[in-house]
Structures are given as C-alpha cells and as structure tokens.
C-alpha cells in the first residue's frame, strides 16, 4: 500500500528507482504471503479442486448432492447456530467488556475476568460438553437437584440435545472470545471524550450515538464476524453433545470422511467444506459493506 504513493514522489524522470523500491517493499511481505499461501490458500485450493472429483474422476455430483434434504437442514442449522451465538455472544460479551473496561484497570476483578476469558474461549470440545452433561444434563447434579425441587427444566423435552442446547453451550466460549477481541477497542475509549461531550452539553445518548458508537462499531462488527466464523467451524463440542444425525454441517463433513459403513464420500465432504467457505466469504463481504457504511457514518 505504501508503494502506491511512490510514483507521485519519484516523478516521471526516474522510473527505475521507483521500480526497484517497489520490488524491495514487496520482498518484505514475502514471509507473510508465503505463510498465508501455504496455510490458507493452498488448503482452500485443495478442497475446492477436490470437490469436483469423485471415484470416477471429474464430477459435479458432489455439488448436486448438496441438495439432499439432510444437508440442507444441516446447512440452515449451522447458519442459525452461528448467527444466534455470534449476535448473542457479541451483545452479552460487549456488555461484560464494558463493565471490565470501566472498572479499575489494575483491579483484581479485571485480571481474573481477562484471564478467565482467555481460558474459557478455548474451553470448547469434549470437556465443555462433558461439563454440561455433569451439571445440567439429564443425569447431572444440578438438574437432579432442580427436579427434586419441582423445577424440571426438561419437562417439555431434552433441549440440551438439540440446536437450543448447542446455542447455550456455544455461548460458553463465544462470550469470553468476544471479551478477548473487543476489550482492546473499548480500552481505547478515553473518559475525556465523555467529559468533552458533557461539557459541550451532550447527553449520554449523544455520546454513544456520535462518539463511542461510531468508534466501536467497526471493532464490534469485526468481532461479531469472528464469532460467527468460530461457531460455524466448531466441531468437537457438537460431536460430543449430539452424536446423532449430523445436526450441523461440520458433523456431516465428519460423517462423509470417516463413515465405516460405506457412506465414505471424501469429494462430497470437500463440497460441503466449500459451502462453509462460501458462507464465510458472503458474511465477510457483508461485513465489508457494513464497515464502509459505518465509515461514512463517522464522517
């Protein structure tokens, strides 16, 4: 991006210098580009190309198979799960973040909350699922205690084992992740800005609408997007909690890769992965549009 400014400085007479500097600037980015190439673009390419191959060579059937009713259901479930936990996680997480940020910056509460978030954000997987079994599962001690006290929260069905259960469980790592990624942005808000707003006669609403809101909006949206992608790709927690029926897309991908009863379709698994990539790409594009809008809003 810095290179773009160069021609204007070097002028028409010395194109060589500009050219050489351009290549040197580019060199600095090589390690990064190589890293992104090997760990992001190459795997994506392998998946995208593999999705067009079946046992008999080139085929489009992997993509036509995406219309199978259980895949459509799993895709819709995945989007609902990711959207609900991203939005709920972002809202609840940002409230918690604000509470942490406005507290004593060197206080014990803040340190505990931040380090607990660091641990809990990575707490997904079998351990998290098992923690729920052991507490509010149908054999969990919290549920058994509640049921004895006429608080049978499974009276209308075991919601822990369907999409609602996944949403609750996912929030356990979504909210802490929101705290981790959103805290630096909230910390950047100076108390002086609020004081300035107030001294100019602005209300609390004016402060949030014209100062803090616009400043935090890009970070908030970016963090929400991260939460969405995080939920979309999560696998182990769901696999431990709901082993049956492939309720979300990552579980269907796992079925297609590891089925030992002969439903092993690696090409189809790759086509499903392409769907996940496409969903993230669409959401990222939406995020780009939204961010440009908020930028305009800022001016």
């Amino acid at each position: 991006m810095t290179a773009a400014g160069y021609p204007a400085v070097t002028g028409v007479g010395r194109p060589m210098v500009g050219g050489r500097r351009l290549s040197l600037t580019w060199l600095g980015a090589v390690p990064f580009l190589a890293y992104v190439g090997v760990f992001l673009f190459l795997p994506t390419l392998i998946i995208a190309v593999g999705a067009f191959f079946g046992e008999g060579g080139f085929t489009l059937s992997n993509f036509s198979n995406l219309s199978r009713s259980y895949i459509v259901t799993a895709t819709v479930n995945s989007i609902i799960l990711s959207a609900v936990t991203a939005v709920a996680g972002a809202v609840l997480g940002s409230v918690l973040t604000y509470a942490i940020a406005t507290g004593n910056p060197k206080g014990v509460v803040r340190r505990i909350a931040v380090s607990a978030s660091g641990v809990l954000a990575q707490f997904g997987g079998v351990t998290l699922a098992f923690a729920f079994f052991a507490t509010i599962g149908p054999a969990g001690f919290v549920y058994l205690w509640a049921a004895q006290h006429h608080l049978d929260f499974y009276a209308s069905g075991f919601w822990l084992y369907d999409l609602r259960g996944l949403e609750v469980v996912y929030l356990y790592f979504q909210i802490p992740l929101m705290v981790l990624v959103f805290l630096p942005a909230v910390d950047g808000i100076r108390p002086q800005w609020r004081e300035a707003t107030e001294s100019l006669g602005g209300s609390s609403w004016h402060y949030w609408r014209y100062v803090a809101g616009p400043l935090l909006a890009p970070a908030f949206l970016g963090a929400t997007l991260l939460l969405f992608a995080n939920a979309l790709s999560a696998y182990a927690t769901a696999a431990a909690l709901i082993n049956q029926g492939g309720i979300i897309l990552p579980l269907q991908i796992s079925n297609a890769i590891t089925s030992e009863v002969g439903l092993h379709e690696p090409g189809f698994a790759k086509a499903q992965a392409v769907v996940l990539i496409a969903i993230v790409a669409i959401v990222t594009a939406l995020y780009g549009v939204l961010q440009r809008r908020t930028a305009r809003w800022l001016q």
Binding site: D162, A240, N243, G246, S259
Partner: protein, 371 residues
C-alpha cells in the same frame, strides 16, 4: 521417506546376512526371513523361528484404532511384547475403520504407517488393494465363509448386538418394547451414529429384527428409534465409558463384548441379548501391503490366531473366530467361554448386500427419524 525405508531395508538385509552366516555352520538355528514383505505364510518365510527372527530385527510394530479396553486388546498387546520383546506403537486408539484405511493411504511406507488393520466388514471389502495376502498357521480352523480364500482378510472376533443397562437406574430389560416405557426417559443411547459407525448400524438392525423387520429391511428399526425419540427416551450422545460411568447414557446398544466391559466401572451393569434378534458380526484382520514392519505384522497375526491370542479375546468376552475348532480340540478357556452373555436362538449375520441396503436406507432416513 523412500531413502529411509531403503536404508532400513539394507539394515535388515545386513542383519539377516549376519544371522544367516552365524547360523550357517551350526545348521540347526533358523535365519531371519528376508522375504517377509511378500510371504503368504510363516512356512513361506522359512518357518516360525525365521519369522520371529526377522520381526525381532525390525524391532517394532505399529497398530491402529485398537483401544486397550476393547476386546481385551490391552492384555494382547502386553502379551505379544512380553513374548517376542517387540514394542508396539498403538496409534489413534478410538479411530474408526475408515480412519485406519485413511492412515494406510496417507502414510504410505513411512515408518509410522500402520502394519496391521482390524476393520469392519464393509470397509474391508471396499479396500482390497491395500492388503498383503497372508495365511496364519491355524488357517484351516477359520470357517470358509469367514475368510478371503487367498488370505487378503480373515475374520478375527465378534459378538452379538445387545442392550446394556445400569440396573440401578432402569428396570430390568426383557424385551425391546420395554425401552419405550416412561422409566427410560432420556436414557437410551447408541454407540455412534449408524450412518458412520458399524456398531450403531447393527444396533438399529437389531431393533428392526426385534420389531418385525428382516435383515433386508432396517426400516422397522429406524421407526423404533423414531418412537424412542418421540417418547423423549433417546439420547443422541455417543456412549463411552465416561458417559456410562456418570449416568448420561444408562442404556446402551452395543456389542455384548464391549458392553460387558462397563461392568468394571458400573458393577450393576447388565447385558441383554433379545432372543428373537441375535445379530452377530465379526471384525477382520489384514496385513497392510505397505507395512513398514512386514515380518512383525505377520508375527502379530500368528499371535492373534494362536490358542493364546484367541483365548485372550475370549477373556475380553469377544467370540474368537477359531472358537468352534478350539472347543472341539479342548484348547478353549472354558471359564472364559462360560462368562459370555446368554443368548437363545440362531445368530444372524448381515451379508454385504444387506448391509449396503441398510446403510442406503439409513443415509436418507436416519437424520429425519431422530431430529
């Protein structure tokens, strides 16, 4: 990787040469077999002693997807290492049959690749090009319909599909219909997803047989689980030792030999095999064609199919494939045989075509039935 393999091969060859030279004059000692990679039996390798020498020279054996608490594999692994002094690397113990095949394909001839496989029947039949033919010394004891004639694969141990339950959490199970009762609310689980795991597929098939279905028609089983789901009795959690122990899955469909293992954690665990639906299935052994330790792989098979290996499986409550022959010859461990769960009736085994029809039906109906 090729280089390393060739160097290793060279090492084995040199070691072999030394052994052969050393033993050459004495005449009685056996040299290490040099053709283990293609040997189709121990005698083709110069006899058992020669195979043992070659396996010891390789010094290692890689196995995959065999948990220590599965069919007594822990004791078998320890027994093999104690007998031959060859340490075993057991990779990905909780992996599926397909994971085993994937590992063979992805790791190729590298020193980490699996040497031997223990896999379900449909995966076995779908990957015939990956195995090296080998016939164990006790080959003739394996019934003809339980082995591939050239020795590409051979069945090893099996059991009956059963319902295991914690008798302190639920009433005694005497028929499959009992499971629909209100005492089983939120308690009945399968060992895996039937579109993915062979054990779970057979669990649904057993439910089908017990509810008027046939081996050609699994739909009654899917209907049964749909009923379980509607009554709120079905738990979609994969049953494991941990979920059984903490009570999340107090009733589990699984092979009787796996279910019986829960008795060590839950002493009140009972295993029920329905009289009108005895579903039998075996796992299969095969030596990998690209095994990095070809002699050790073959020696492992010899150990598994020896009286000792077969009785170890039996102690894990799995029915070894030579059981009939060993009962006749009196070599069977009678106490272990008497400990097997009781089952009355004729055992049924799914043919490959019946399994294919069942999984095709499950692929399109299972998710809808239980959600």
């Amino acid at each position: 990787m090729n280089w390393r393999y060739q160097i290793r091969g060279l090492g084995v060859a040199v070691a072999t040469l030394l052994v052969v030279v050393a033993c050459g004059s004495s005449g009685g000692g056996a040299g290490a077999c040099t053709t283990a990679k293609t040997a189709t039996s121990a005698s083709a390798c110069g006899g058992m002693d020669s195979l043992v020498a070659a396996a010891k020279a390789e010094g290692k054996l890689n196995i995959i997807a065999v948990p220590r608490d599965w069919a007594n594999y822990g004791a078998i692994i320890d027994g093999f290492t104690a007998k031959y002094g060859i340490p075993i690397t057991s990779d990905n113990p909780t992996g599926s049959s397909q994971d085993e095949v994937n590992a063979v394909q992805q790791l190729g001839t590298s020193s980490r690749a699996p040497d031997v496989l223990d896999i379900g029947t449909s995966v076995t039949l779908a990957n015939l090009t990956l195995y090296a033919p080998y016939k164990v010394a006790t080959w003739s004891d394996i019934p003809d319909n339980q082995k591939e004639p050239t020795g590409l694969w051979y069945q090893d141990y099996g059991g009956y599909m059963s319902v295991g339950y914690d008798s302190t959490k639920v009433p005694a199970v005497t028929s499959m219909q009992d499971l629909l009762g209100s005492a089983f609310k939120g308690k009945v689980a399968l060992n895996g997803d039937p579109t993915k795991a062979n054990a779970a597929l057979n669990g649904v098939m057993m439910a089908s047989l017990a509810n008027g279905g046939t081996v050609d028609d699994i739909s009654k089983g899917v209907d049964f689980f749909h009923q379980l789901k509607l009554k709120g009795n079905f738990v979609p959690v994969q049953a494991t030792t941990a979920t059984v122990k903490n009570g999340t899955t107090p009733v589990v469909f699984d092979w009787d030999y796996l279910s019986a293992q829960h008795g060590t954690d839950v002493p009140t665990w009972k295993v029920f095999v329905p009289a009108n639906a005895i579903l039998l299935d075996f796992y299969n052994q095969a030596v990998s064609k690209t095994a990095p330790h070809p002699a050790a792989a073959r020696l492992w098979e010899e150990y598994l199919y020896s009286d000792e290996g077969q009785n170890l499986w039996l102690k894990g409550l799995a029915r070894p494939v030579r059981m009939a022959a060993m009962t006749k010859s009196g070599k069977i461990d009678a106490a272990a045989a008497a400990a097997l769960p009781v089952a009355n009736g004729t055992p049924i085994r799914l043919s490959a075509d019946q399994a294919t029809a069942a999984k095709a039906y499950l692929a399109s109906h299972w998710a809808a039935a239980i959600s």
